[in-house]
């Protein structure tokens, strides 16, 4: 038994604690169908996510709508992520600062979160959404992708830029809506 306890209490833990954790590297390509539209018209946004690093337990892709009160004017037209998308409205408890849900904040605007669990290396997942802006002027959309576990700075994209309501970096996309 002494040999057994030496193995399970000392030898194996020492061996395994030196193991490096795989580092995922998510990337996101966003394409808009138009830069300018007339009020009442729709446009499409395509979000293509890839994991360029090692396997992630989960990869999320978020499209946030800071000018919206709800998601009534947003429709998902195509979707091939592994799990169903989650729709969040404002004033909901959401994860923040890449903590994977450990630190919660209140959402300030609605957003859609697509996710794949797990996210294997070099696999591509796509979500296309159709949006009909309800007011004229510049219409803003925030996008980002995050891989979990969040072990390095490369586990989120973009790696810098504007911080959103979840205290995470986002890419901003603007469509001009003319009256």
């Amino acid at each position: 038994m002494a040999a057994y306890f030496a193995l399970v209490l000392a030898v194996f833990p020492d061996t395994y604690q030196d193991t490096e954790i795989g580092s995922p590297q998510p990337s996101l390509q966003v394409t808009l169908s138009a830069q300018q539209i007339k009020l009442g018209q729709s446009f499409e946004m395509s979000l293509v996510a890839t994991n360029l690093g090692e396997e992630a337990d989960m990869q999320t892709v978020t499209a946030g709508f800071p000018q919206n009160q709800n998601l009534d004017n947003v429709t998902i037209t195509s979707y091939d992520f592994l799990q169903s998308p989650r729709l969040y409205l404002q004033d909901k408890e959401v994860g923040s600062a890449y903590s994977g849900g450990d630190t919660l904040v209140q959402s300030k605007y609605p957003f859609i979160e697509a996710y794949s669990r797990p996210a294997k290396p070099d696999h591509t997942y796509t979500m296309t959404i159709q949006i009909i802006p309800t007011e004229s002027g510049p219409y803003h959309i925030y996008t980002k992708t995050v891989a979990m576990p969040h072990v390095t700075e490369l586990a989120h994209y973009p790696i810098q830029g504007i911080l959103d309501h979840q205290n995470e970096f986002v890419q901003e996309h603007v469509i001009e809506v003319i009256p």
Partner: protein, 345 residues
């Protein structure tokens, strides 16, 4: 008269085969269940139609065919009273298994992703447990009638009982039961306390009982333990690729199992048997790797446990809690020998 006797003997043999089939079916059900837990951790399946469910319900099918054959052969051989209890318990267990399938499907349809502890899962686990216990009772009666222990029968009968009761204990010690609709997660302190008592008690009871049933023949308890380790490796470790390098660590658990079995095979009195129980119980924290990580993480490190971090968190907890759990497991394991003796006699 001779023909009648021969016919009864044939049915008795068929009863024995059918009983093995019932146990084997439950082994598939429980392995599928263990794989399903891992699949939920890794892949968050959103549909009832997942590969682990296919394995699980194939097991139900095999257990059902086995049960029908068992019941017919029992009836045709003149309903011997010695098998009455075993057949009754198996009948009730199979009934619960049959109810659990449709209820589970309806629950999935209504509430989507379900947690580990849910009404249909409890029915399923109760069905698994009772069916396997009924088959074990039949095995005991078969061996009593024939007068000689059968190692194969003993091993095949004990493994599903071990796994079924483990499933029940998982439900009350793992934080996997919170969904969008319900929060059935156990209180973390209760879960840790429960695990510290229930798991060593179960390991010791199963291994000691299997040895007693085989007249303390060396090798039987070891084979029950090896079967358990093999099934856990296949269903809980291998599906998570980040845990595959830790298989040598998990396989090392064969050491206390063989050692405890050896002590048991030489045991002349209850004190020797208690030493063996203590050896088995002391290894529970290691035998219940990797899922036990979730139970004790809640009361120690409180880290966010992603599947790829499971082994790191587990090994990080070892210096914090393992010494205490080894002592606790040894005491519980030794005490449970009395219980094992009682149920085996």
């Amino acid at each position: 008269m001779k023909r009648e006797l021969a016919r009864r003997l044939d049915y008795a043999r068929l009863f024995g085969i059918a009983n093995l089939m019932v146990s084997f079916g439950i082994i598939l059900v429980t392995s599928g269940g263990s794989w399903d837990i891992t699949n939920h951790i890794l892949n968050k399946p959103e549909t009832f139609f997942a590969p682990p469910h296919a394995m699980l319900y194939s097991g139900v099918g095999i257990a059902l065919v086995g049960f029908i054959t068992l019941y017919i052969s029992w009836k045709k051989s003149g309903k011997p009273a010695s098998f009455g209890w075993g057949v009754k318990i198996t009948t009730f267990g199979v009934g619960l298994l049959l109810v659990a399938g449709p209820v589970d499907f309806v629950w999935h349809s209504a509430f989507g992703l379900d947690g580990l502890l849910s009404p249909p899962h409890l029915v399923l686990i109760a069905g698994m447990g009772l069916t396997s216990i009924g088959a074990l009772a039949n095995t005991k009666s078969i061996q009593k009638e024939s007068g000689k222990p059968s190692p194969l029968r003993t091993i095949v009968s004990f493994v599903p009982v071990w796994f079924s009761i483990t499933g029940l204990f998982y439900s009350f010690s793992l934080p996997f039961s919170k969904t969008d609709y319900f929060d059935f997660n156990p209180n973390p302190i209760f879960a840790a306390g429960f695990a510290s008592i229930a798991y060593p008690f179960l390991i010791s009871t199963i291994l000691i009982s299997s040895a007693i049933l085989s007249k303390q023949r060396f090798g039987v308890a070891s084979m029950v333990g090896v079967s358990y380790l093999g099934m856990m490796t296949l269903s809980a470790i291998m599906p998570n690729h980040t845990l595959v390098p830790t298989i040598p660590f998990y396989v090392a658990n064969i050491i206390p199992i063989i050692l405890g079995d050896y002590v048991l095979s030489k045991a002349k009195n209850i004190k020797n048997m208690m030493v063996s129980g203590a050896i088995f119980g002391s290894a529970f924290y290691f035998l219940y790797y990797p899922l036990i990580t979730y139970t004790y993480n809640e009361v120690t490190l409180e880290k966010l446990l992603w599947p790829s971090l499971t082994s790191l968190v587990y090994f990080e907890m070892i210096p914090i809690i393992a010494p205490f759990l080894i002592v606790c497991g040894a005491i519980i394991g030794a005490i449970s020998v009395k219980f094992a003796q009682k149920i085996s006699s």
